[in-house]
Amino acid sequence: MLPNSRTLLGTTAALTLVLAGTAALAAMPEMQLNGDAEAGKEVAMDRSRGNCIACHLIPGGDSPGAIGPALVAIQTRYPSKEDLAKQIWDPTVKNPEAVMPPFGKYGILSDKEFVDVVEFIWAQ
């Protein structure tokens, strides 16, 4: 038992380091999450910017895609606005296989567009 446990400990420690390293790289910078939901709606519906509607059903949006989950009851699904923001910043932190693009990390949205879209989605 003991040798096994030690190996396990070692492996876990190593993996923790790797994970911590990855998290640091992908981390969302500190920002004020006080965007403009109306402006965020435009970003979410715009093909060349957020284009959330391409994959997610959003109430009030025409012809949504069905790749991601419906964006409804968001505040029951994320404990905080910051938690939602982190998911939009880089969904591969929680799930490396997530198909959704890392909208913040890869600079797909400007900081303004990002906080606006967070505000809009948080209100869904």
Binding site: T12, L19, A54, G65, I67, N95, E97
Partner: protein
């Protein structure tokens, strides 16, 4: 530590669920897994029908497509290509001197060329023939080469894809593995792999567009694409996909796309060629 372990397990399970196609095996195993995956994902689709791309799984799109096929938009390309095939080069020779078996040869490509140490494709062979006879090479994405390829594809209809990865040259397996890696590697600002859309999410919708299954993707090229309003080659389509995910496209007929074609076509072994095609 318990927390870390739980987190790791969660990650592991997440990966398994999200990546039903974890390919790490021999080409034969990959191919069987690939084809079975799509046959199970779309049990209503007869195997050969995967060669019809999204129209195998989109009944409404299929109706429109069948109507388009009654007066195919690629017909002019076929007749232009036939004329090219039959028109001698300046030196009096022609394509049939390079390709003595005639124009029905699409099923022989791509193949591993041991002497050159690379994947050989039909467009490369065409330009090799031209330059050997003192003619200028054709551009690889559209135009005359798409015409000639349309004629060859039409004459080759019904040939069964049977790409081989020869075991006596490890470089062939390496090229296959590179193509496979390309297919599953995420790229571009949008961070998508080919598989992101055409494996695990095939059959779902991007807005109203149904994502086509990867199985069958190479069979119908060159293609008349309504979006282009003209014919284009397989590598032109590859470039378009890469640019769509905001990645820099690779060179048509460069090593990356040739290896990708090698992998994708090998995955389609057993399907009949049905080019040239028409797509949205």
């Amino acid at each position: 530590m318990n927390k870390t372990l739980t987190m790791l397990s969660a990650l592991g399970v997440g990966c398994l669920l999200a990546a039903p196609l974890a390919l790490a095996s021999t080409p034969e195993e990959d191919q069987a897994l690939w084809q079975t995956y799509f046959e199970k994902r779309f049990p209503q689709v007869p195997k050969q029908d995967f060669a019809n791309g999204v129209y195998a799984i989109d009944p409404v799109g299929r109706e429109n497509w069948e109507a388009i096929e009654e007066f195919p938009p690629y017909e002019t390309a076929i007749s232009n290509g036939e004329e090219m095939w039959n028109t001698p080069f300046a030196n009096g020779k022609g394509y049939s001197d390079c390709f003595p078996d005639g124009p029905a040869i699409a099923g022989k490509y791509p193949y591993w060329d041991k002497d050159k140490g690379m994947v050989m494709t039909l467009p490369l062979a065409i330009n090799e023939c031209r330059t050997a006879n003192g003619e200028k090479p054709l551009k690889y994405k559209k135009g005359p080469i798409a015409d000639l390829l349309s004629y060859i594809a039409f004459e080759s209809r019904g040939q069964v894809i049977n790409v081989e990865i020869p075991k006596d040259d490890p470089r062939a397996l390496e090229a296959y593995e590179k193509g496979k890696h390309f297919y599953f590697a995420r790229r571009g600002q949008l961070n998508f792999s080919c598989a992101s859309c055409h494996a695990g999410n095939s059959g779902t919708t991007l807005r109203t567009e149904i994502l086509s299954p990867a199985f069958g993707h190479t069979t119908h090229f060159p293609v008349y694409r309504s979006k282009w309003g003209e014919m284009g080659t397989l590598h032109r389509r590859f470039s378009g996909c890469n640019e769509q995910v905001r990645a820099k496209a690779f060179e048509a007929q460069g090593e990356e796309y040739r290896d990708l074609e090698y992998f994708m076509t090998y995955m389609n072994n057993g399907l009949e060629l049905n080019g040239p095609g028409a797509r949205k």
